[in-house]
């Protein structure tokens, strides 16, 4: 099955196309979406197994020999990301059944999600830098639809800013690809890697590296380019927010990690130091934001920014522990942010507000929600044996090995602030006197809680079973640290 790596990209696309035909039949939409996601998830697990057994999978479309055709590459890193993004989408869709409202469901909500998954999985899988731009546009276009769907005043205001920021950054992406093309004369990522290594350190390559950092930094939300993120993400309803928060910034982070390990390894002293400094600043700003707000959405959104900083710090030190920590933490963050947003969504549904000062006393009537939230919050901060621990441990270990003493200590200290920001929600919302009316029926509460609890248990399993994941993570790390594995897989049978 040489085409296996295309299935997680194509299955959502086909099902989305079918869904466009009968937008008003809500039941059918739900069922078909679920079937599509389950098929895609099954294919991604098959891909995971295949990559584990046979190594990096590569396919150049249309029987062109690489580097001339468009290549799709699936190494362990991208296969794991594809799997976790489909997993998150499955739970978000399940949660949407009782949360998003029929009006949005009739307005192409599910096709937009599936098209977005096509873009996300494509961006994770592609081995061609211009094709990555195209997949970015696919996912952005669907995200425009999702962010504006419903047409509330706040959504319209924020989506305009979101779209303009993304149009400008997409133009910058094309410009950067143009510069890169003029230097190396190829668009195939494996080929670019080889050619850039031949050129060696030079000024123009460093400029391109920094431009790529700006482009992907805008998508990923690193300092100082995250300015659009808190406002835009808070506008759409919770399931969309969960999907955006868990997936979209991670695509930017993935692209930075991919380009900074595959392409720009010749002038590490400049580019990776810049990445390291920016990631630390990102954490600082994220922590300030997470502690400053009383709005639950904003608190968790700023926690996305913090996580982006932590992941990129691990990637910037470029040693085995740091990189493995980053991979661990990236997957952890996709799962845990999904779970957190779903739980927060239930809190907002119950109290009818996202302002912490207006809520309280949920513990007495909704104990299950409280305890699950507490476990997920501990997982977010990285308390052993929950899922955030192992990633952060490895990142900090990598930092110490790379002789970045103060930065590593700072990452540890930031965990405490993350814990504080998450526990603040727990204290305000779950403790204290009951405030206001609770606006949700028992049945709906149970329906909303089911996907959130299942996802939360997966994050717990991810932490407890970390030992079994180490071989997978090691495979992913090896490819990231040794580009020749990636290059050889693409050019297999050609050179």
């Amino acid at each position: 099955m040489i085409n296996l790596l295309l299935f997680p990209v194509l299955i959502p696309f086909l099902f989305a196309a079918v869904l466009l035909l009968f937008p008003k039949k809500v039941k059918a939409q739900r069922i078909v979406t679920m079937i599509g996601l389950l098929f895609a998830l099954a294919s991604s697990f098959a891909l995971l197994y295949k990559v584990k057994v046979d190594g990096v999978q590569a396919l150049t479309l249309g029987s062109w020999a690489p580097p001339f055709g468009i290549t799709m590459v699936s190494d362990m890193f991208s296969a794991m990301l594809v799997t976790s993004s489909l997993l998150i989408a499955l739970f978000v869709v399940w949660y949407s059944f009782n949360s998003i409202g029929e009006e949005r469901e009739k307005a192409f909500y599910y096709p937009a999600i599936l098209f977005m998954l096509t873009g996300v999985n494509g961006a994770f899988t592609t081995g061609d830098i211009f094709n990555m731009f195209v997949f970015f546009e696919v996912l952005l276009m669907s995200s425009y639809v999702l962010i504006v769907l419903g047409g509330e005043k706040i959504q319209l205001k924020e989506s305009i800013k979101y779209i303009i920021v993304n149009i400008v950054s997409s133009s910058l992406f094309v410009i950067t690809v143009g510069y890169l093309y003029s230097v190396v004369g190829t668009l195939n990522m494996a080929d670019i890697s080889v050619k850039l290594a031949e050129i060696g350190p030079s000024g123009i390559v460093t400029v391109i590296a920094v431009l790529f950092l700006i482009v992907f930094g805008i998508k990923g939300g690193i300092f100082p380019l995250f300015f659009w993120l808190p406002g835009s993400y808070a506008a759409p309803p919770i399931p969309v927010l969960a999907l955006f928060g868990a997936l979209l910034t991670k695509v930017g982070v993935y692209a930075i990690m991919r380009t900074y390990t595959l392409f720009f390894t010749t002038d590490v002293g400049y580019t990776h130091t810049l990445l390291m400094i920016l990631s630390i600043l990102t954490i600082v700003v994220g922590c300030i934001g997470a502690l400053a707000y009383f709005d639950v959405k904003q608190i968790i959104i700023y926690n996305i920014v913090i996580a982006v900083g932590v992941i990129l710090f691990g990637a910037s030190v470029m040693n085995e522990s740091g990189m493995m920590g980053s991979v661990f933490y990236l997957i952890h963050d996709i799962l845990i942010k999904g779970a957190l947003f779903l739980l927060i969504g239930i809190v907002i549904k119950i109290t009818g507000t996202s302002d912490l000062r207006k809520m309280g006393g949920l513990m007495k009537r909704y104990p299950m929600l409280g305890w699950v939230y507490l476990i997920v919050a501990f997982g977010l901060a990285g308390i052993p044996p929950l899922s955030g621990f192992i990633g952060k441990l490895l990142i900090v270990q990598g930092g110490f090995e790379g002789e970045l003493l103060w930065q590593s200590i700072f990452i540890l200290a930031s965990s405490l602030l993350v814990l504080l920001s998450a526990i603040r929600i727990f204290i305000y919302a779950f403790w204290g006197e009951e405030k206001g009316e609770f606006l949700i029926s028992k049945k709906k509460y149970r329906h909303l809680l089911a996907p959130a609890i299942t996802l939360a248990s997966i994050t717990v399993l991810y932490g407890v079973g970390a030992e079994y994941l180490v071989p997978f993570m090691a495979d992913a790390t090896n490819v990231l640290l040794d580009p020749s594995i990636y290059v050889d897989a693409v050019f297999e049978g050609v050179k």
Partner: protein, 113 residues
């Protein structure tokens, strides 16, 4: 020729940035349109403007234009066309609902407009 193109591209970028920084939504969208025009010309220039004949394989032809930037531009044009159309519709809808096309008045959240 490349120098001339670069000056033109720089001019387009300058106009685009000026328009994007203005307050009116429509001007911003026109600005993004100019930005993508500049980007497409840049792609063409980056591939090198030389080449006497079309990039079709035939006997005796050695000096041909680089076909790849043209393919890239075609893709990029289609995408920017779609995005511009979408943002124009969105701008119209936002104008109807929010009641203004002035970006300065589009700040604030649900609680305080």
């Amino acid at each position: 020729m490349e120098i001339l193109m670069s000056i033109l591209i720089g001019f387009l970028f300058m106009a685009a940035v000026y328009l994007i920084l203005s307050r009116s939504l429509l001007r911003i969208i026109i600005g993004t349109g100019l930005l993508s025009h500049g980007t497409h010309l840049l792609l063409l220039t980056m591939g090198g403007l030389g080449g006497k004949s079309a990039p079709v394989l035939a006997d005796g032809i050695t000096d041909y234009a680089d076909p790849l930037p043209q393919a890239l531009i075609l893709t990029a044009i289609v995408i920017s066309f779609g995005v511009t159309a979408f943002s124009l519709v969105l701008a119209y809808r936002a104008y109807k609902v929010v009641g203004t096309d002035n970006m300065d008045l589009m700040k604030g959240n649900e609680d305080n407009d």
